[in-house]
């Protein structure tokens, strides 16, 4: 990677040796129910507040992923985590319970992509042997921070998305089994002047389009090199916008594009444009997609978690919504 370029190609390739994904009850009624490692019976996870619940869910995902990798906390050199709450408390408070050096991250809903990229770089630098990457989100904590109280009788607008209650963690290692991270494209912040905080798919689609187009151009690949190009949480409308943006660059991904936000819920669940949240891509990737790799149904995927970098304050002050997307190429070893 030189100045002006965005794509890193890993000569030595880190393996994703284990993953674990937990979701809430609504997600557990969706089309991916059978793939999730754990579905909570209720949103509170036996805790006193939703924030504590999100934290517990996040911690469980990390602990179980490490356990599944056959490791102990002390084997993991670093934990890279993020979530959507102010001061990323779900991540930091999970790390408080763990004996693992912690690096907190924030890239909104694309944080899981950021974690995978940084984790891979740390491993390939030779300075670390094993790292864990995780993110979480919770419908009730996000609603409260970004929107209205839960019991307020408001209607969702047609373009709104439903924040996923879920958490996912991947354990990366230089040796072991599992698919490998072969390359990654670090996204730039792209703002296409969308101001409607209830239309995040449209706000994030340009960032995803630029990252995907840059990735394919810098590696001289066609979109069909990948079995699937999987975005994080563009939802139905955002996905449509992504297709149109890429078509204007001569890239057609209509055939092999999937979106975690569209996969996790179905139309009967009244989630409008689909799921969103930092836990959306991580819970789907660590369960459904890792399973697809295991069953040899996928050989190559470009995983592109997407994020909207807004806050309640920025929206109130009339700012438009900047988007970000990172691409991680994952292939069979």
């Amino acid at each position: 990677m030189n100045g002006g370029e965005q794509t890193i190609v890993f000569e030595r390739k880190p393996h994703i040796i284990a993953g674990y994904g937990i979701v809430g009850p609504k997600e557990g009624e969706g089309p991916l129910a059978q793939y999730f490692d754990e579905v909570a019976k209720d949103d509170l996870f036996d805790q006193k507040s939703y924030e504590k619940a999100e934290c517990k869910m996040h911690l469980l995902a990390i602990e179980r992923a490490i356990e599944r990798a056959g490791l102990h906390e002390s084997d993991v050199c670093a934990l890279l985590s993020g979530d959507l709450l102010n001061q990323i408390i779900s991540s930091s408070f999970s790390a408080r319970e763990l004996d693992i050096p912690f690096l907190g991250l924030y890239n909104a809903c694309s944080t899981f992509g950021e974690a995978l990229i940084l984790g891979s770089i740390m491993l390939t630098s030779g300075s670390m042997q094993k790292v864990a990457c995780s993110t979480s989100s919770h419908f009730s904590t996000a609603e409260r921070q970004y929107r209205y109280p839960l019991e307020l009788g408001t209607q969702m607008t047609p373009t709104a998305q439903w924040t996923v209650t879920g958490s996912g963690c991947s354990v990366l290692s230089m040796d072991g089994e599992g698919p490998v991270v072969t390359s990654a494209t670090v996204g730039k912040v792209v703002d296409y002047d969308i101001t409607d905080a209830n239309n995040m798919g449209a706000a994030m689609a340009p960032a995803a389009a630029f990252t995907i187009a840059t990735h394919l151009r810098e590696l001289r690949r066609k979109a069909d090199y990948y079995d699937y190009i999987v975005t994080g949480d563009l939802g139905i409308f955002g996905s449509e916008m992504l297709h149109q943006l890429l078509l204007s660059e001569g890239i057609d991904i209509a055939e092999n594009h999937l979106d975690c936000g569209k996969l996790i819920f179905d139309e009967t669940q009244k989630v409008h444009m689909g799921g969103s949240g930092a836990g959306c891509s991580s819970s789907v990737f660590n369960t459904y997609f890792l399973q697809q790799f295991k069953e040899d149904k996928i050989k190559r995927m470009l995983f592109v978690p997407t994020g909207a970098l807004l806050s309640k304050v920025s929206s109130l002050q009339g700012e438009s919504i900047p988007g970000i997307a990172h691409a991680v190429a994952i292939e069979v070893a």
Binding site: P149, L152, T154, Q155, P158, F210, S248
Partner: protein, 147 residues
Amino acid sequence: MIQKEEYVELVKKTTPKSKELKTLPIAFAVGGLICCIGQAFRLIYSTFLPIGKVTAGSLTSVTMIFIGSLLTGVGIYDKIGKVAGAGSIVPITGFANSVVSPAMEFNREGVVLGVMSKMFVVAGPVIVSGVVASIVIALVYYIVGLF
């Protein structure tokens, strides 16, 4: 790649809109029903209680606020709101919902800095504009009365 201005236009043109043909009648029906219930209370109060029309009206408001708060507390009002939209937001029961829901939500942050300070985060603007409007109207009323 499609340029910014073109994209904003594209999004504006293709964004799915609210299906007003479906949502407006429901809002009208639910909003109307809430008002009918209020009217029924008012009739009952003024007929069966030894109070005047004005007191019966105040008592009706109190009753409707109580019902709105109760339905919020047991987690029903937000479900009505999802279907009815403005139909259940505009009547006084919606106002009760907008005060009680943040009070419940912020209960975990304590009574003073949680419930008390956050209780009016949603209803605050309504109260402020109501007070301002009443002052303006009182002034107009006063000035007109001078002549």
